[in-house]
Every structure is written in C-alpha cells, then in structure tokens.
Assembly symmetry: C2
Homo-oligomer: 138 residues x 2
DNA sequence: TCATTTCCTACTTGTTCTATATGAATTAAA
DNA sequence: TTTAATTCATATAGAACAAGTAGGAAATGA
C-alpha cells in the first residue's frame, strides 16, 4: 500500500507550478531542477495532467505549463486519482456494479470501504492552496 | 495504492480460522476450499502468520492451524502490517530517522502523515472479533 | 532561421505479484 | 508398522508494474 513515485511527483509538480506562478508559463526543465526529479519522467507525468486539463501548455520558446485553475480548485485527491487510478484499497471495489460473487457476504469488504472513506476524507479536503500556504509559512 | 491479494487473503484466512474454530486444528486445504484461494499460495501466507506467532500449527494427520489468541486480540492492522509491511503511503516515511533531505521543508509529507493516521485509525480499531460478529449477522 | 520547448512513442531494467512445483519432515490413525 | 494427511522449506515461472531513459517530431517566440 504505497503512493507511487509518479503520484508523489505529480503532487510536487502541481505544487511547484502553484508556487512559481508569475503569470507566464513554467518549463518542466526548471521544475525538474528545483524538484530534483528526472526531466524525462516529469514530462510523462505532466502529459497526463495536461490531457486531463489540469494544466495549460504552451509550446516553443518561452513556453511551458501553468495551472489551468486556481490552487483552491485542486484537491490532492484529484491529482492522486488521476495519476494512481482509483485510490481504492482493493481491486474488487473498482468494479461497478460489483462483480465479485462473494461481495454480498464479504465482511472484509466493509473494512476496505471504511479505509477508502478515511483516505478520501483526508485527500479530498486538502487543496493545493493549503499546501502553498503551508509551504510559504516554512 | 492497493492492498495486495496476499494481504486480503491473510485477513480472510484469519477470519476463516476464527469462524471455524471448534477447538481442533483447521487444515489449510479446507480453508483453501472454503475461500477459493490457491492452496499453495495460502500455505506461503500462513507460514508468515505462523512464524509471527499469530497462529499455532500441528503437523501430520488431523493437523492444521488455529488462532494462537482470541479473535478480540487481533486487529486488522496487525495482520495487514505483517503481510504488507508498513502501511505507510510513501517510502520516505519508513526511514527512521528520516533521511530524505527535503523532509524538513516538505509539505507533501504532511499529506502522507495525515493519510497514515487516517488509515491506522481504521485498521487498528477493527478486530477479528468484530468481523466474526458481522459475518455471523449476515 | 534557430534555440527552446512541448508532444509522442518506444524501449529498458529491475522488482514485485501471484502463484505453481517438488519434495522433505512429521504425525495420527488404520 | 504402514499409510495417508498434513505442515514446512525452497525453488521456479510468468506477468505485470515501476521508474525511468532515449530519440525524434512538431510548434513557436526571438
């Protein structure tokens, strides 16, 4: 049960964009340097964020990326779910309607559902803006 | 971010032992049949539970496994942590003392710590006995 | 035109997951 | 004492996934 490097990087990436927003576009090369994350790997990650409409891009010289919306409008959950897929503790909860034949009598499923609620309760209530604020306080 | 099959199986295995406790030993072959889980895979899993002292074993005919303690004394967290390792959302939290050079200024770490607390809050407060009770109600 | 930058896709390398397989050691019962 | 049932130990395998690396096409501002 781990958040992958990809998910962690995505969050740091979005936070970096929020922190370094000066109106223009921020190239990933500079994010890569600040965050000390592989440039090429970041490129793949931001592609996902871009296709999802989380960031706007501009090609060519002076190009780069910027947040599509205000930091308040992004929760940590939105970002993690995009990158990691459903943040559901077990695979059988992803099927909708639930196809596992034991589900009706499965009490361990209750455990996973409670877990999911607890996880969502955390990540859906922290926004990028919260993180920006905390970071600036440090 | 998923609970592995191994972790899920371990929980079902322990629950099965609790539900089918009639004083004697329960062979894994029968658990495997009831739970429809690969016998050989279960064997590996129960070895871990056995080495950790969670279950007692008896070899030979009429042998098998039984819970070492009362169902009340096992939390879901105990079982999952044994099988899955630390249920910590990111690897950098596992180092103790924390070695990541960015940790002091890392606000995303706050997110992971909150997540871990939320997860622990759930799994450390559900016992096998709770699950047994729920299962019997169904 | 040129340097900069995103965009796209394929490849690699190592690890983990989810088993399966084989056989030795032990033990209760026939 | 034999036999069947069972745990115990270890090796192997195939698939998927993680975490990058690599190369080049397309766009764009200076």
């Amino acid at each position: 049960m781990k958040i992958s490097a990809k998910g962690r990087y995505a969050l740091r990436l979005m936070l970096d964009l929020a922190l370094n927003d000066e109106g223009g576009y921020v190239p990933i090369r500079s994010i890569s340097q600040r965050q000390e994350i592989s440039y090429k790997y970041l490129e793949q990650i931001i592609t996902l964020l871009s296709r999802a409409g989380f960031v706007k891009s501009s090609r060519g010289a002076q190009g780069g990326y910027k947040l599509a919306k205000q930091p308040e409008e992004y929760t940590v959950g939105m970002i993690l779910r995009l990158i990691e897929g459903h943040l559901v503790p077990v695979a059988c909860m992803e099927n909708d309607p639930n196809q596992c034949p034991r589900c009706s009598s499965c009490v361990t499923l209750d455990v996973w559902q409670q877990l999911e609620e607890a996880i969502s309760g955390v990540i859906d209530h922290i926004t990028l803006a919260d993180l920006v604020k905390k970071q600036r306080e440090k």
